[in-house]
């Protein structure tokens, strides 16, 4: 008898809710991406705000939607995959919208990476930006200095960053909370300063002319043409980043629903009690740092190849704080929430360009409002279910 709570078969209503949810989400996102008029952008934002207010006031609605997704996972997966794969073709050739999507997806990977730590294990880490940078630099240097193919630099860069992640995790053996937070802040600053000061990293000028990857002779710098439909070159990286997000989600799910995820959750809840259950907290903390660095490095490699130029300014303390904010605003230990957080905080500042000077001010105010009004995050953690699948 290992059944989880709701194991009913999916009803037609469930499927309808799933379809409506996914299509609606895609539509709102598209509208937001393509909108140029400040009134429309404000309208979409107000709409989203109203939506969350509704969920806050009527938790039953949220429960119903979640239940529907749980009962109709196949529908959700197939429809979701179809939507995200076809998405670039719905952007009307708008390369700016595609660019925003690529950046948002990369930040989603970074936020998912940090979520292993911050969400699952409640270990503060203000150095995800540094791992992101280490990955980007490792990958770019390999490509530029040794002509290594992008696909090969990916795992190597990830390995390099993972080593640094373990190193950073080392102090976590003894330091905790605010003290550990400062260690990671310091690490991030040191990495940024060193990238800026060394000669072989290109100094403040960074690295120029990082080649775009290619696959089967198709360079990622060229537009995609399928059935006469032409989408801008950014779509290549959209799919690459998408694959990375899918990978990150898969890893997050598997780890979350395993002994490892439980151990992280345990040391989040009560480190001392966790130790008494036989959990080697030092190992699990360092592991969390390593996993974070590993995934962040992937995002870094893709970013370097996408923009073809990196400099230390891409990997500042502020970037780490932004990633941290994405996880907390999105909802700790909830992959979907974290992705929403990443999209929100990537797109919001871009879309607030219309408010020009007030942009940063608005972003700051919005973040504070989110934290105050929905402290558990947009999509809070949900209990595990056992034996359902």
């Amino acid at each position: 008898m290992a059944a989880a709570a709701p194991a009913r078969a999916a009803t037609l209503a469930d499927r309808a809710i799933v379809a409506a949810g996914e299509a609606g989400g895609a539509l709102i996102l598209g509208l937001f991406l393509l909108a140029e008029d400040w009134r429309l952008i404000t309208a979409v934002l107000v709409l989203c705000g109203a939506g969350f207010a509704l969920l806050e006031l009527r938790p039953a609605i949220e429960e119903r939607i979640v239940a529907a997704f749980r009962r109709a996972p196949a529908t959700a997966l197939v429809l979701g995959a179809a939507i995200v794969l076809a998405y670039p073709f719905g952007m009307q050739g708008n390369s700016y919208a595609l660019h925003l999507l690529v950046i948002a997806l990369l930040y989603a990977v970074l936020a998912l990476a940090l979520n292993f730590q911050l969400g699952s294990a409640n270990i503060p880490n203000f150095a995800t930006g540094a791992s992101y940078g280490i990955g980007a630099y490792a990958s770019a240097l390999l490509a530029l200095e040794f002509g290594v193919s992008f696909w090969l630099t990916l795992p190597v860069a990830a390995a390099v960053a993972t080593v640094f992640g373990f190193l950073l995790g080392f102090p976590s053996m003894r330091t905790r909370d605010t003290y550990l937070a400062l260690v990671t802040i310091a690490f991030g600053i040191v990495v940024h300063q060193l990238l800026n000061n060394f000669d072989w990293t290109g100094g403040p000028n960074g690295l120029v002319g990082i080649p775009a990857p290619s696959i089967l002779g198709h360079s990622f710098a060229r537009p995609i043409v399928i059935l006469g439909q032409r989408v801008p070159a950014q779509a290549n990286f959209y799919y690459l980043a998408l694959a990375l997000v899918a990978l990150a989600i898969l890893a997050a799910r598997r780890l979350h629903n395993s002994r490892v995820g439980l151990a992280w959750n345990a040391l989040r809840g009560d480190e001392l009690a966790a130790r008494c259950q036989g959990i080697d907290v030092v190992w699990y903390k360092m592991l969390a740092f390593a996993v974070d660095a590993f995934l962040a490095a992937f995002a870094g490699s893709v970013y370097a190849a996408y923009v073809s130029y990196i400099s230390p300014d891409n990997f500042t303390f502020l970037v780490s704080v932004t990633i941290m904010t994405m996880v907390i605003v999105g909802g700790m230990d909830n992959s979907f929430g974290v992705i929403v957080g990443a999209f929100l905080l990537t797109l919001l500042p871009e879309k607030l360009r219309i408010f020009s000077d007030y942009r940063l001010l608005f972003v700051g105010v919005v973040v504070i409002l989110f934290l105050v009004l929905r402290p558990q995050g947009l999509f809070p953690q949900r209990p595990r279910s056992y034996g359902a699948s």
Binding site: R254, L262, R275, C276, V291
Partner: protein, 264 residues
Amino acid sequence: MAAPSPLLETRGLTMRFGGLVAVRGIDLALGSGEVLAVIGPNGAGKSTLFNLVSGLYRPSAGTVHLAGEDITGLPAHRIAARGIARTFQTSRLFGDLTVIDNVIIGMHARTRTGVLDALFRPRRARAELAAAAERAEALLGLVSPDLLARRHTLAGTLPQADRRRLELARALASGPRLIMLDEPSSGMDDRDTDALVEDIAMTMAERPGLSYIIIEHDMRLVAALPGQVVVIDYGEKIAEGPFAEIRRLPRVQEAYLGHKATHA
């Protein structure tokens, strides 16, 4: 009735915090299947003793042996893996996780899945977790059918008595050789205490080989337990023996009942 090599043996166990000596030269011996009650006034060093045995503190002097093996100063998770489980005076459940999550975490030392398994062999990892979930449910059913019914609620929302039971279930989940219960009755009324005595008696009947060390204040509970009683005051062992004898010793009455006069 003591076994040739006792299950747990401490020799000269001592703990100093700066100038303060919390535990001084304590010798204990406990065989398989035995029960030991530890009593003494507040601040006598009982919990410190537990923390030394379970590896949360590293002793300033003295040794701890488990079934002949020296486990002095090992980190807590290693000691837990060797078969010593414990509960805490104020319950330390993982409140933001479900009841069943708590029990499965208790099995951490008995399960194997690592990161790579979780990532690349999901089937095996899932099977292990499913098996763990099944065992956890069985265990919950044993400790309390009521708890089993609430296995998907968050542990933080449980009432006091159920928390205590869940802690017991979590401790049992690791399949220990020795369970240390730190004041299981604290904060309970008489009815809950009676239920607790029943729970403990039942698990003892269910797992005959298991040893217990129980810190207790409630004399009714101590009286109901089989086995020896150790009295600690000012960090030192001042008496040892069956409860019926211990309670009559003047030094114990002075040390213990003197402090606890209001309660007694």
